[in-house]
Amino acid sequence: FSGRTKLDDELLEDLEEILIESDLGVDATMQLLDDLRDRASEIGEVDIGALQEVLQNEIKQLLSNGSHAVQPESQDGPQVIMVVGVNGSGKTTSIGKLAHQFKSKGKSVLIAAADTFRAAAMEQLENWADRANVDIIVNRKAKDPASVAYDAAAAAISRDVDVLIVDTAGRLHTQGNLMDELQKIHRVLGKQIENAPHEVLLVLDATTGQNAIMQARHFQKVVEIDGIILAKLDGTAKGGVVVAINRELDMPVKYIGVGEGIDDLQLFDPEQFAEALFY
């Protein structure tokens, strides 16, 4: 006999466990398994390997909705990238990595230290600017992040840089006044440079569970999010919550953070990501 099994409850439960433990969440998991059940009844008898492949493909499709790189050449004037997200997700580190990537592609890069709140946030970003060998706009006396954004935009224009990357303080999406502050920074950038920020990237910690969906929803309401940087994917967390986020908000993952070094930023690969969910 060929060792094949029908799509029975035990098999579905195994698949359910894999998907839930990857942080896909109950809704997305149920949806995928329902689709699978319908498919399987057409295919007839199946083995778990084949089913896994169907799921992987489904997930890969769900995640292939956006261009996964940020294109600096599409702008005539500085391309402005604003980086946002909750506390400790990996924003400042990701900016260091991004700056290095653009720089090594021959772009001129300017970083704005618009986190005027957290202890040693400016020093931390200065260190990254130094390592990436790019300039940084920082004002130790500034209390208002929008003022740093303003100065940075002005500098970006006068120095004719290709890319301006703006770091912001971590904030919980439940803090209304801080979300307003983010909107203000966004506005200030737009007033200085047409259509700025051209890219707003939400940094999500790959170890975060279903709350990442709330984060995406709320941040999307205050600033239009163009894409996600999924950081800390070098750990054991799978980051499956981006599948749910994509389904609901059509928000693509653009980059993944895979370590604390300056080179540890990769372009998001939906196929690789989908496969890794099943390891």
């Binding site: 433990e21 909750v86 910690d205 279903q210 750990g235 604390e260």
Partner: protein
Amino acid sequence: QLSENLENVLKKLRGRGKLTEKNVSDGLREVRRALLEADVNYKVAKEFIASVKEKAIGQEVLKSITPGQQIVKVLHDELVDLLGLERSELELKGSPPHVIMVVGLQGSGKTTFVTKLGKQLRDKGRSPLLVGADVYRPAAKDQLKTNGSKVDLPVFVTEHNRVLDICAEAKQTARKNHYDVLILDTAGRLHIDEEMMDELSDVKQQMQPDEILFVADGMTGQDAVNAASEFLGYLDFTGVVLTKMDGDARGGAALSIRSVTGRPIKYMSVGESMDSLEPFYPDRLANRILG
């Protein structure tokens, strides 16, 4: 306190006499969903539901409430029980200087917590010294120094980057200046990074801490069990701190961590300011997890 949906579903369960297996299975199916949506680990949720089921079946249905509500009562009590019935305090035994080691994954909130804990201990009459043992993160020492000066606490940092020496020198400084508690801020690290985990084991061995606190981000998902069990394996930590609980994360990671390590949750960090540190209340968290 339960979410609308869960409440309604459970209210619908009817019955007389004893709670039947069907009553309980139907009710618990919804509860399992709520737990998973609250980020409780899959296997932990499964085990937990099984133990609740066992407790609930055959119970006499109480007169004043529906079987559904009774299941909820069993569930809630089991959850509080698992989360830790007793308030668990910091245990600093023996002679000073006491050592508290703070560890966890990257960005979980350790440096901030170290400062808050120092402030609390100082306000209770102790004399803490914060120790900057993170030699990797850019500006980590600056961050701790700035935090320390904000709350008027002494911070020990060195020019060099040898972690074990930093800890040893800090202890000497504590003895010399009569600080009675050392709080060690360590670098965030992955539980699968053997070299970095060994570093923590070495620090533990050298410093013989009274407490080792595992600081976990309150919004952690299914992965909470992996990091927690690895850190437990290397360090046999004595307590857990949940951070960023001022957000709207349900906090199911707490149940997962507690369930796989058996260690008490000692603190909840509820904000960025230096006085947002609370003791842990199991029934408050139980309500939050259940939605």
